[in-house]
């Protein structure tokens, strides 16, 4: 089976810092990494191909430095990598991004499954995977924690807030993966060295059948009016004492604040 994994390079914002002047994320000096959920998607793809045969193609839309993320994916076991990079794709919102990615996927053509992370670490919208599925007109299953392939049938176990849901779709389909799905492998030095030598294709808009009006800023109906860092609340309330009494006090406080 042929699997395409869509990944995004994001700043390693385990400690997010917001510039108070511009209200944007401080990116200077913050290393770029593969969006953590996308690593789960890569791992799932590599495992499926190890079991069923086929190839894993990893694609990313982004600036030239996103090549590093693609090479990391190659080191994790992906077979091919394509960087989708063009100035006219810059400033794409989730609609335009999913349009460009779906155009690239159409161009690749031969695929059975498209895997993505559940959402990007920086934007947190989770809109791109469903967008890709809509553009391609194929089924989508979000928040997958488990995958099982049987011929063209794909059984997906979804992680919902309070329960699991098991659903079955016919491939090709788009599936977004959650963190609990697997433990992404740590590529060894040999795999990293080999990945350095592999070819990463770079596709600009001329490599795909895309309408420039639907890409970049022009293709993005989203308008960012204002971004701001959430104000930091002052002191919380501390409840101390015997567990039983403390629990009662907490419940009363929550009721008073009309939270429960």
């Amino acid at each position: 089976m042929n699997i395409i994994v869509c990944i995004k390079q994001v700043p390693d914002t385990s400690e997010v810092q917001i510039d108070p002047e511009t209200n944007t994320i401080v990116r200077e000096g913050v290393p770029a990494i593969i969006n953590p959920f996308d690593e789960n998607a890569i791992e799932a793809a590599v495992q499926l191909v190890e079991e069923h045969g086929g190839t894993v193609t990893v694609i990313s839309m982004g600036p030239p430095q996103a090549e590093d993320a693609l090479r990391e994916a190659l080191a994790m076991g992906a077979d091919e990598a394509i960087l989708i990079s063009d100035r006219c794709f810059a400033a794409s919102d989730t609609l335009a991004t999913s349009y460009v990615l779906s155009s690239a996927i159409r161009q690749i053509g031969d695929y059975d499954l498209i895997l993505t992370g559940k959402q990007a670490f920086d934007g947190d919208t989770a809109q791109v995977p469903p967008g890709i599925a809509e553009h391609l007109g194929i089924p989508q299953v979000t928040f997958a924690i488990g995958l099982e392939v049987d011929g063209k049938a794909l059984t997906v176990r979804r992680l919902l807030e309070d329960e699991f849901e098991v659903t079955q779709v016919e491939m090709p389909a788009v599936v977004s993966c959650v963190k609990q799905m697997n433990e992404p492998r740590r590529p060894g030095i040999k795999a990293k060295l080999a990945a350095k030598k592999k070819n990463v294709q770079v596709w600009d808009q001329t490599c795909m059948d895309v309408d420039a009006c639907l890409c970049g800023l022009d293709g993005s109906p989203t308008r960012v009016v204002r971004t701001f860092a959430p104000t930091r609340n002052t002191e919380g309330t501390r409840f101390e004492g015997e567990p039983k009494e403390t629990a009662t006090a907490v419940i009363e406080a929550l009721i008073d604040d009309k939270i429960i």
Binding site: R186, I189, L193, K196
Partner: protein
């Protein structure tokens, strides 16, 4: 001249740093406290292809030389000194087989040592053959197509846990060092047992065990290099061992320094951070300088080795200098921490206990100075 890493070296450094920060450092103190061989870390070294950095690719290695090996070893020691020491001791079996082994021996032993399937150890030291390495009393007597080994090795790093041992024994004590012969001995060979695991001042998770040979039968094809040439095998292996010690000392010293310089900027006394007192500043300056100088020494020694040039003098210099440096630096790190530095709540007391070992193993400081003096006098004969 170029002091920067190549792109590949930088990639390895980044990967080992990530491994160290995520996996090794968080458990380092617990491993030392627990005192058990950290197989979980050995498993990580395997997964990361770090068990054979200088070994040629044909045998499964990275073929990246001893300088890269040293840099990796320094980082491992920085994040988890025990793991760094295991990594170093492993090379003491791997290197002589790589250097002196036959093709069959390399396929049988070097390949699994390089993939990390086996762990290695080197057995030279005996109760009466420490600094005087020529006094090895372990006997090897030829009987048919086997050598029969009898004797006891002590303080053997990785002993008991390792599968592959390079052992120095004497086939003809009347010939002294010219009777010494190196053997590859496998764990589990009949007559090969493990004795006491030393209780030490530090390094509780690093085994230093007795190896006991009682009529241990070793096939003749396990003679490493030639009979009667074991002393040369031992000396060449010790050259790498010294490099490994310098590397470990620098890693440990850097860990102590990093802990101290953070603490010095957090701790306040007399209304200011103690890093603002010149007494502390001068300590930090000397610590940083010692570490930097030691690092350059081991890197130059390793570089010479990688160029195929004589490196023994530099390796001895790196070993003696960095081992005395790490004792000073870790002691100063405890001093900067004051009372809490003496407690087990902070890692610096462990670093200080571990540091002393570097001045003793792989040739004491006195032996190193003897080697250096011998070389410089030979170089400057008038």
């Amino acid at each position: 001249m170029d002091f920067s890493f190549t792109e590949d070296q930088q990639m390895i450094v980044d990967a080992v740093r990530e491994l160290g920060e995520e996996e090794l450092a968080p458990r380092a103190s617990e491993i030392a406290e627990r005192g058990e061989f950290p197989w979980e870390n050995v498993e990580l070294l395997r997964e990361m292809d770090l068990c054979g950095v200088p070994v040629p690719e044909d045998y499964g290695g990275l073929d990246m030389g001893f300088l890269t090996w040293g840099v990796v070893g320094e980082l491992l020691s920085y994040y988890c000194s025990t793991t760094g020491a295991i990594f170093g001791a492993h090379m003491l079996a791997q290197y002589p087989i790589m250097q002196f082994g036959t093709e069959e021996q390399k396929q049988k032993y070097l390949v699994p040592l390089t993939t990390g399937e086996s762990i290695g150890a080197f057995g030279l030291t005996e109760p009466n053959a420490g600094s005087d390495a020529g006094a090895v009393a372990t006997r090897a007597d030829l009987k048919g197509d086997k050598y029969i080994l009898n004797g006891t090795k002590v303080f053997i790093s990785n002993g008991g846990e390792a599968e592959v041992y390079v052992i120095i024994a004497n086939i003809d004590p009347s010939k002294g060092t010219r009777g010494q012969t190196a053997f590859i001995v496998e764990k589990g060979m009949p007559g090969f047992e493990f004795g006491k695991d030393e209780k030490k001042m530090g390094w509780d998770a690093l085994p230093n065990r007795e190896l006991i040979f009682q009529d241990c039968e070793v096939p003749v094809e396990n003679v490493l290099y030639r009979t009667g040439r074991g002393f040369r095998v031992a000396m060449e292996t010790l050259g790498i061992g010294r490099l490994g010690m310098a590397v470990g000392a620098v890693g440990l010293a850097q860990a102590a320094f990093d802990a101290a310089i953070v603490y010095a900027q957090q701790r306040e006394q007399f209304g200011q951070r103690i890093s603002e007192f010149q007494a502390i500043q001068f300590k930090l300056a000397d610590m940083a300088t010692g570490i930097e100088a030691s690092r350059l020494l081991y890197q130059r020694a390793a570089w010479l080795k990688d160029q195929g040039e004589k490196y023994e003098k530099l390796a001895a210099m790196a070993k003696v200098y960095s081992s005395e440096m790490v004792s000073r630096v870790t002691s100063d790190a405890v001093q900067i921490h004051g009372g809490v530095g003496y407690t087990r709540d902070f890692p610096v007391e462990r670093y200080m206990r571990e540091a002393k070992l570097f001045e003793i193993v792989e040739g004491t400081s006195e032996i190193q100075r003897g080697i250096i003096a011998n070389r410089v006098l030979r170089e400057h004969r008038i």
